[in-house]
């Protein structure tokens, strides 16, 4: 009896897991492999890719080219710096806001969360064009600050939502206990609220940092020529230069860097977040 239940339980598990697994396989893993392959192939006569002429024609020329010119490493580094700065600014803006939403009366919270995600109701490009109109008269258009402002604006909700979800679950009794045991408001925040919100900070940071790295529309519309990020570079290789192997190689380098960073973050989280699982 129990054995049969176990088998059907397994079947249910497979039935639930199969569609998303298939989806990821076909639309994530397979394209990824295609890009890896493309990065190892030759450029075609009129751009794009040359016809595949057997395994022997595969080479790491594109990677060698990337390593040979420091400008690529510089743009990659600058992209990471811009992503990090955007993430930090998002965090600083989102934390008090998420905290306020989490502390407001229950019936008002849903409305406030709705307001946070309301900008998604209009088109992303339309909203960026609106920023052109805001920044233009102020004389800030086509500056690094404009790019950062746009990136922060676009990604702020992705920081607010995971933070709010985390902060909302905090047991108010913990803060009362801390206060009762002698902690002032500042200490209560740093010793209780902040460490318990680390999982929310991590997911928010990941949701902001990674998309910003690949972002090309915001720097293109709001930034100057010197403000291009790795995303613009990749887009340029595919659409303007039509050097697909180089564009693919850039994509692979970026993906590898992001994966490395994610692995590091996961490792750090596992070591530093003991006990906070209980509230996430």
């Amino acid at each position: 009896m129990t054995e049969r239940r176990g088998v059907s339980g397994d079947r249910v598990k497979w039935a639930v897991m199969l569609p998303p697994s298939l989806f990821l396989l076909v639309f994530f893993l397979l394209p990824g492999l295609i890009v890896v392959l493309a990065s190892l192939r030759e450029t075609g006569e009129f751009g794009g890719l040359a016809p595949l002429a057997g395994v022997a024609s595969l080479n790491a020329e594109a990677y060698r080219f990337l390593a040979g010119d420091l400008i690529y490493a510089e743009i990659l580094l600058r992209s990471f710096a811009v992503a990090a700065l955007t993430t930090l600014l998002c965090l600083l803006l989102a934390y008090p806001l998420a905290w306020l939403i989490a502390r407001s009366p229950k019936q008002r919270r849903d409305l406030l969360v709705l307001l946070v995600i309301l900008p998604f109701a209009s088109n992303f490009l339309v909203r960026i064009y609106a920023w052109i109109m805001i920044l233009g008269p102020a004389g800030l258009l086509y500056t690094p600050s404009a790019v950062i402002a746009g990136l922060v604006y676009v990604h702020l909700p992705f920081m607010i939502l995971p933070l709010y979800t985390n902060l909302e679950k905090h047991d108010p009794a913990l803060l009362e206990a801390a206060q009762d045991l002698g902690a002032n408001a500042w200490t209560r925040f740093w010793r209780v609220t902040f460490p318990l919100s680390l999982p929310g900070i991590f997911s928010g940071a990941a949701l902001v940092f990674i998309p910003v790295l690949g972002m090309f529309a915001v720097p293109e519309l709001l930034g100057g020529t010197g403000d291009i990020l790795i995303g613009n570079l990749i887009k340029g290789q595919f659409l303007d230069n039509r050097d697909w192997p180089l564009g693919s190689a850039l994509s692979i380098v970026l993906t590898a860097c992001v994966l490395l960073l994610a692995a590091l973050a996961a490792w750090a989280a596992k070591r530093g977040l003991h006990g906070t699982e209980a509230i996430t």
Binding site: L174, A177, A178, D180, L181, G182, A183, R191, L196
Partner: protein
């Protein structure tokens, strides 16, 4: 001077008066309990002592000094919360060290005190565990250790045993008594369980609707309840509506519409015709099968309607001739016999003239 004094404490929530003019004094080293049904204001009082809530009237004095305007973090008293409120991201040792760190103790002293306190609550081997790795009883003891480690003047406990299962609760009660005796810190304990209150406390204040109905030692509370509510709330009791028919210095004559004459005793001079209730504990009533063995003055005939066999004792519900129902508790103390009477048996119910108390309405 009392350690803690509540003077005419009042707290209103909108139109609801949660605490009405409560005055109490708690002595150093005392285990003091606020007992009452939910919504009686006991937790509100505790929160006002801790500083999480401010009274609308009256004052709270600690060592004779008013606590008005002193925030919770500056009050030399700690709370053990009903949910324990242990910090989930800190180890057991980290939780217990927290109040010491807040008061700026040195690292070696913190280490020493945490170690000692862990010994005190028998958790020395759990110092590095996280709260989610502990059982309910262990969490309870960490919460106690955290409240006691910085030697507060007073420890406030808000239904701390409520979340434990019945067996563990009895165990923790004994531990709590031993612990309180050892540390000598005054405890203010809030509970709705009269059994817990009787077992643990030096003194109990029974509360109802924001007022203290009676404040006494457990045995006084049990044997001499001040009114019908206290009699009914603390322990099981029979309440018989009566009218005074005769009152001398000690002897008291009562008449019940159902039972007729009842002989009782009361040192108070009571007026003939005064109405009230005669309160009688079930364990002071004897149930006999023969009239001859029921030789006490208060003797009534009836029939067993219900019984609850509990092994050591049996609860009998006897319907007397006038229709009055009386609950009696008899120990099953005869060797080889499980219980003495069965449902439907005709029995005699009797009690000594000094067994019950007369309570004025």
């Amino acid at each position: 001077m009392s350690l803690l004094e509540l003077r005419n404490l009042t707290r209103r929530f909108g139109s609801l008066e949660a605490v009405k003019d409560v005055s109490l004094a708690i002595e150093a080293g005392e285990f003091f309990t606020l007992l009452g049904p939910s919504g009686c204001g006991k937790t509100t009082i505790l929160r006002m002592i801790a500083g999480f809530d401010a009274p609308d009237g009256g004052e709270i004095l600690l060592d004779g000094i008013s606590l008005a305007g002193v925030p919770p973090e500056k009050r030399p008293l700690h709370t053990v919360f009903q949910s324990y409120a242990l910090f989930p991201h800190m180890t057991v040792a980290g939780n217990i060290a927290f109040p010491l760190e807040m008061s700026g103790k040195s690292a070696p002293e913190i280490r020493r005190r945490v170690g000692e306190t862990l010994e005190l609550v028998h958790l020395a081997d759990k110092a590095a565990s996280f709260p989610h790795e502990l059982s309910g009883g262990q969490k309870q003891r960490v919460a106690l250790a955290r409240g006691l480690v910085n030697q507060p003047r007073l420890l406030l406990l808000d239904e701390p045993l409520g979340a434990l299962d019945a067996k563990l609760r009895v165990e923790m009660q004994s531990e709590l008594i031993a612990l309180q005796r050892e540390v000598g810190i005054g405890f203010v304990f809030v509970t709705h369980s009269q059994q817990e209150a009787l077992a643990l406390s030096h003194r109990i204040a029974v509360m109802r609707d924001g007022r203290v109905e009676q404040c006494d030692e457990p045995d006084t509370l049990y044997t001499q309840p001040a009114n019908r509510f206290v009699a009914d709330f603390v322990g099981r009791i029979n309440l018989v509506e009566v009218e005074v028919t005769a009152s001398s210095k000690v002897l008291l004559g009562l008449r019940s519409p159902c039972l007729g004459e009842i002989a009782a005793t009361d040192p108070r001079p009571l007026a003939v015709g005064e109405r009230g209730v005669f309160a009688l504990r079930p364990e002071l009533i004897r149930v006999h099968g023969h009239k001859e063995s029921a030789d006490l003055k208060n003797r009534f005939q009836g029939r067993v309607r219900e019984l609850l066999y509990l092994g050591d004792v049996t609860h009998y519900r006897v319907e007397l001739e006038g229709g009055q129902r009386i609950e009696a508790l008899m120990p099953n103390a005869a060797p080889g016999r499980a219980k003495f009477h069965e449902i439907g048996d005709a029995v005699w119910v009797c009690w000594r003239h000094d067994a019950g108390v007369f309570l004025r309405d």
